[in-house]
Amino acid sequence: MLEVLIQLLPSVLLEGLILGFVYAMIALGYTMVYGVLELINFAHSEIFMSGAVAGAETFILLKAAVPNPFILLALAILIGGAVAAIVAILVERLAYRPLRRRGTTNRLVPLITAIGASFFLQDLVRLIEGLWHNAFYRRYPSFEVFEATYTLPNLLGSVIILLTLWIVFWVLAYFAYWIYRAATGTKGVSRRASRGLWIASLVLTLLVAVIDRGTVFGDLGLTIQMKSILVVVISFAMLYGLNWLVHKTKLGIAIRAVAQDAQTASLMGIDPDVIITYTFLIGGFLGGVAGVLFGLLYTLVHPYVGFIPGIKAFTAAVLGGIGNITGAALGGLVLGMLEMLGGTYLTFLTNGAMGTEYKDILAFAILIFILLFRPQGIMGEQVGEKV
């Protein structure tokens, strides 16, 4: 049984990583808006959805005119991203800005507005799709090139196994030590002890590798589909682009300045409203692209498709430390992998009594556990620091 668990590890983690990239891109929208407005934009899941639906329509409408699926995908990404960005800006203009203008100080009011905007968008898309096609479920067409499967070298799988084992052993050892320390009345773990734990878990990992070398270095049959490669490459490029934008451009510095202190930023000649609009534009575009990639992976999209990925991405943003951009990306990847691990291993560990439908339970249980120890999130800071 352990053998199967180890053997499955690389493909499960890879799948989780692919899903995680989609979560990461959605999570960035939540975290950026939270950074500048301290508002959880619950309508963001519908911004994601409008991108997914717009992408589907692009694929379906242009399929005949554009024979090359890669160009078609590029067009769908651009249109899906643009539609989602426009929706995001409109939500800000029509729903949030009027409240800010009135100087609403009650935090619940914009929150309720966000939920209202969310329902409104679901039904609006449903109405449009219904009038247009008489049905609101849309399917992404499949292309042979996108479905093509490639085998990855076994070495990559072995490396993933070893790294994962190392991290898992370290986490277990760390908690065991932490509990031991707490039980003996001292708090925390010293730097030296922490290094010791790293080395000990590395030794343990190597031991497992030697004992179970047949599995670890055996034929792992790790495969990846073209569309998954595309998802990873595109999301990675977008995350990299965002990182560059936020850290190296004037707009990025201005966004961070507004997030840290909007009033002082206005003393620098920055119009906070302009920066807020840009933030919704960027977050919306990323969310829309995530929607198209989601459609590419799971094919079926509809007006209610945003809810679950939206909630998960929001969770990922909190996990990473809400308001922190790197944290949101990291949180997305971690959540994606946890979810896939939960989905696969629960079935094995319970002999099929609990199937993949329980995957979220394990993922969220681990999440609660992490947040118990780090309530501020992985990258978050104790004091209310943002972006």
């Binding site: 510095i253 201005a254 961070r256 300045a257 202190d261 206005s266 003393l267 620098m268 920055i270 119009d271």
Partner: protein, 237 residues
């Protein structure tokens, strides 16, 4: 002397609190004017009213002869008002250099930005040493230098300084006041709000005394420093 800034009968409220009760004040080109007074007299409110962070209910704020009191803060900055706010308010998670860059947000000419940055670094060599450090990791004095440097990046026509010496060690207080004098020598017009009345009156040309939202005394700084009331209330005898 050309008037850079003029306040005419300005009334500002925080909700129902009448914070400024008809302030008249002017600052001429090339002057250092100081506004002194006790805590809660309305010094900070006066500066906030000038830079548009709060709008007066009555009266006018004229900048170079043009009424600006109805404009939002970011547009007043554009006209040349540089405000170094109370408590420095530097961006803690931006580096020193990014803090300066954001000060020059309205300037698009890269060469001009570099020129101003070099000027700030020449004025405060300490900032140059720490240019890659996060603003929040600086000491109080360095943060004050950064806050002033950031405002200078705007190349403002008038510099509003709100309690630049607050919370600093005596040595640094001297450095800050020397800088104020130096900036003025280089041609900057300055409106200085201070609790340290003695130092402020030493460096300023003219002064106003603010008491519970009203100007009670005004005149050349040297005369104010000799005034018995001022001495008793603000100069410790």
């Amino acid at each position: 002397m050309k008037k850079v800034l003029e306040l005419k009968n300005v009334h500002t409220y925080y909700g129902h609190i009448h914070a400024l009760k008809g302030i008249d004040l002017e600052v001429g080109e090339g002057e250092i004017v100081t506004l002194i007074g006790a805590n809660g007299a309305g010094k900070t409110t006066t500066l906030r009213t000038i830079s548009g962070m709060i709008h007066p209910r009555e009266g006018e704020v004229l900048f170079e002869g043009v009424a600006v009191h109805h404009l939002p803060a970011h547009q007043i900055v554009k006209r040349g008002v540089g405000h170094v706010p109370e408590g420095r308010r530097i961006f803690p998670r931006l580096t020193v250099e990014e803090n300066l860059e954001i000060g020059a947000y309205l300037q698009n000419d890269r060469q001009e930005i570099e020129r101003r940055k070099a000027e700030v670094f020449e004025l405060f060599p300490r900032l140059a040493e720490r240019r890659r450090q996060l603003g929040g990791t600086l000491s109080g004095g360095e943060q004050q230098m950064l806050a002033i440097g950031r405002a200078l990046m705007q190349d403002p026509r008038i510099l509003l300084l709100d309690e630049p010496s607050m919370g600093l060690a005596p040595v640094l207080v001297d450095v800050i006041f020397e800088t104020v004098a130096e900036l003025n020598k280089r041609g900057k017009t300055i409106l200085l709000v201070e609790q340290n009345a003695l130092k402020a009156l030493e460096v300023a040309h003219r002064g106003y005394v603010l008491q519970t939202g009203e100007i009670t005394l005004a005149g050349p700084a040297k005369e104010l420093a000799q005034n018995e009331e001022v001495k008793k209330a603000y100069l410790g005898g």
